[in-house]
Amino acid sequence: MKQSTTLRLVLASALCSLALPASAQDDWPSQPLRVFVGFPAGSSPDVLARVVTEKLSERLGQPVVIENRPGAGGVIGIQQMLVSAGDGHTFGTTINGPMTTSQRMMDDTGFDVAEDIAPVTLLATSPLVLAVASDSGIEDLEGFIAAAGAEPDALSYGSVGQGSGAHLTAELFAAEAGLSMLHIPFTSYAEVTTSIIGGEIDAGFMAPSAALSFVEAGTMNVLGITSSEPFGQAPDVPLIAGSAGLPEDFRAELWNAFIAPADTDEAIIARLNTEITDILEDPGVQEQMLGMGWQVAPGTPESMAERIAVDTEMWGAVIDRVEAQ
C-alpha cells in the first residue's frame, strides 16, 4: 500500500510538473481547490471545514470542494490528500490525532507528519469538560478526586476509543491528580453520554456543548474544563488548571488545522495562511464556531509546527504511561 501510494504520488507530481510551469503561483488558484476531510459530512470537523472554505472560496474566486474521506480517526483523509497531491490545489483539514498520536497508535499510517505535511494554520481549539451524572452526588473537582482516590479504579470513565482525545485527556488528568481510573472505551460520544446518564459509567471528558445541554436538563454535572483560559461557550465552568491541587499549566485541547501536502509551493501556503487567518478574525465566523464548541486559533505555519511538536511530546508521554500499566 505504502509503495503504491508513493508510486502514484511520484507519477502524479511528475505529470503535474509537466503540465504547470514553475511560475504557476502567480495566477494561483487557476482551478477549483479540493479540501480533504477525514470525517463524514455533518461531523464536527466537517462542519468546521465548511464554515472556513465557504469564505475561502469567496476570497479566492474559485470553488472549494470538500472531499469527505472518513476512516481510521482521520488518517484516511490525509492519506487520500497525499495521493491526490501535486497540483497545488489539493489541501486538507485535520484534527490533532493524526498529527500527534496516530503514529503511535497505528502500525503504519502511511505518512510521516514532518516529511509529508506542510502546516498552514491552526483553525480552532476545543477544550473538554469533565462530566458526571447529577445523581452521583459529585458537585466539584475536589469531590471527584476524593471519590476516585478512595481506591484504585474506584471510578470508571468512558472515552471514544483507545488513544482518542477523550481517553488521553482523562489519563493525563489522572496522572496529574495521582489517580487510577478504569477506562471503558466506546465508539461515539452518543454512547458515552447515554452510559453516564444511565449510571453505567461514572464520568467522561466530553465536548462542552454536548455536556452543557444535559447540565441544563439537570441530568449532568460539569466539574471542570481543560483549557488554559475560561472558555467562551462555558464561562462558568472552572478551569481544571490550578484547582484541586492540579498544576497551573494543565492544558489539554483538541484542535483542528488546515494542512497542505509537503511539496506545496511556499508562496501558496503563505497566501492561504493570510486568507484563512483573515477569515478567522471575522466576528461572525468566530461566533458561529463558538456555537459549535470551537474557539478560533489563527496562527502562522511555524506556530502550528511548534504546537504539533509540543503536543506530540506531551501525548507521547501519556501513551508511554498507559502502555506501561
Partner: protein, 494 residues
Amino acid sequence: MSTWESLLLGLSFALQPQILIYCVLGVLLGSFVGVLPGIGAMAAISLLLPLTFYMSPEAALIMLAGVYYGAQYGGAVASILLRLPGTPQSAVTTLDGYPLTQQGRAGLALFTAMISSFTGAMIGIVVLVVLAGWLSALATRFGAADYAMMMIFGLVAASTIGATRPVKGFAMIALGVLLGCIGTDVNSGAQRFTFGQAELLDGLNLVALAMGLFGVAEVIANIRNPERQKTAARISMRSLLPTRDDLRRIPLPILRGGALGSFFGALPGTGSTLSAFLAYATERRLSRQPERFGKGAIEGVAGPEAGNNAASITAFTPTLTLGIPGDPIMALMLGALIIHGIQPGPMMLEARPEMFWGLVASFAIGNLLLILLNLPLIGIWIAMLRIPFNYLYPAIIVFLCLGVYSVRGLTFDIVLVAGIGLAGYLMTLAKLSPALLLLGFVLGPLIETNLRRALLVARGDPMVFLERPISAGFVFAIVVLLLFPLWRLWRRKA
C-alpha cells in the same frame, strides 16, 4: 399542552407550503436513492447537507428525515426484483421477495412491501407519539450487559433463517462474526486482520459486503444459468393484485412486524436490522407451514418490511428527545442542526416543540406521499425486468460500484466488492445463506464489544448478566429458545 394540541401544532407547521415542499423533496429523493443499489440514505444526505445551510433548521430536518425513511421504501424494490439489498434489513426482504419475482409474482411482492412499509411506519408514528417519554428512558436504561444479551438473543432467534440445514446456518453466522472481527478492536485498540491496510482499520465496508454477497453473486449466477434469465418475461400486471389467500396472510405479520420494529427501533444502533430479522423469524415460527419460507412466502416480505419501517420512525426517539443519535445517519441530521447553532440535547423538545411535532407530523405526511407515489410506480419497476439481461446486468454492476464508492470514496472498496462477489457466487452454489452471514457480521462485533464492556464495568463479575433485569430476561429467552426444539423432539419420541 395535550398530545392532541401538540399534534395539531405539528400538522399546521408541517403543512405550510415552504415546509411541505421540502418534505416532498426529501421523500422523493429518498425513495429514488433507495432503489439504486448501494446508494443509501447516507450518501444522499451527505450530498444534501450543504444545501441545508440555506434552509430553516426545521425544513432541513424534515427534508433529511424524509430521505431517511423514504429510502426504506426504495430499498425493498431492488431487493425484491434483483436481489440487491443495500442494507442487512433489506437482505431479509430478498429471502422471500426474490423467489416471488422468480415465480412471476413480483407485483404482489412489491405491493405487499409498500402496504407493509406504510402500515409499519404508521404503527411507528403512533408508538412514537404515545410512548415517546417511555421509549427515550428505555435508551438510557439499556446497559452494555443488556445489549449483549439482546443481540445474542437476536442471533439465536434468527440463526436458522434462510438456511437449508441448521448447521449451514450456524456456519454462516460464525463466518460473519469472524469477518466482523476485521478492524480496530474497540476495547484494546488492537488492529486485527488489517494487514497494514488503513482501509481495513474500520472493518470491511458493510455495503460492499452486502452488494458482493447478493448482487454480484446473483449476476454471475444468472449469467451461468440461461433458464433464470427467462423468468422476467412472464410477469403480467394482473399478478400485482393479491389473491384472497394472500390478503388473509398479510395483516397479522404487518401488525407483529410493526410492534417488534417500534420497540427495537428505539434502541440506538441495531434496532432496524434486529427488528427485520426477528420479524422474519417470528413469522416462520408462527406459521403452520414453515417450509414455505424462503420459497416465496408473502408473510416473509410483510413482517420484515413493516418492522424496519416502524423502526425507522421510532429510531428518532433518542435522537429527538435526548439529542443522542441512534446511528451515523441520525448523527448527520443532528450535524445539520448544529450548523444552524441549535445544540441537540434533552432540552430540544421543550425549547422547540414545533420542530419535534412538525417532524412527527411530517412522518405521517411523508409516508402518505410515499405510498401514493410508489403504488403506481410498481408497474414501471416491473417493466424494468423486461430489459434484456445483457443491458440490465452491466448497468447493475455499474450502479453497484457507484453505490459502494459513495460510502467512503475509496477504490479499495470496489476491488473488495468484486472479490466478495466471487465468494458469494461460490456460496450460492453451496446453498449457503448470505443473509445470516450479514447478520453475524453486524451483530458479532457489537456482541463482543458489549460483552467485554459489561464485564469491564462489572470489574470482571459475570453475574452482571443475571443481576440486571433486562439482561436476565433475555438470558431466560435465549435458554427457552435453545431448549424448545429439544423439548419438541423429546415429546415426539415419547
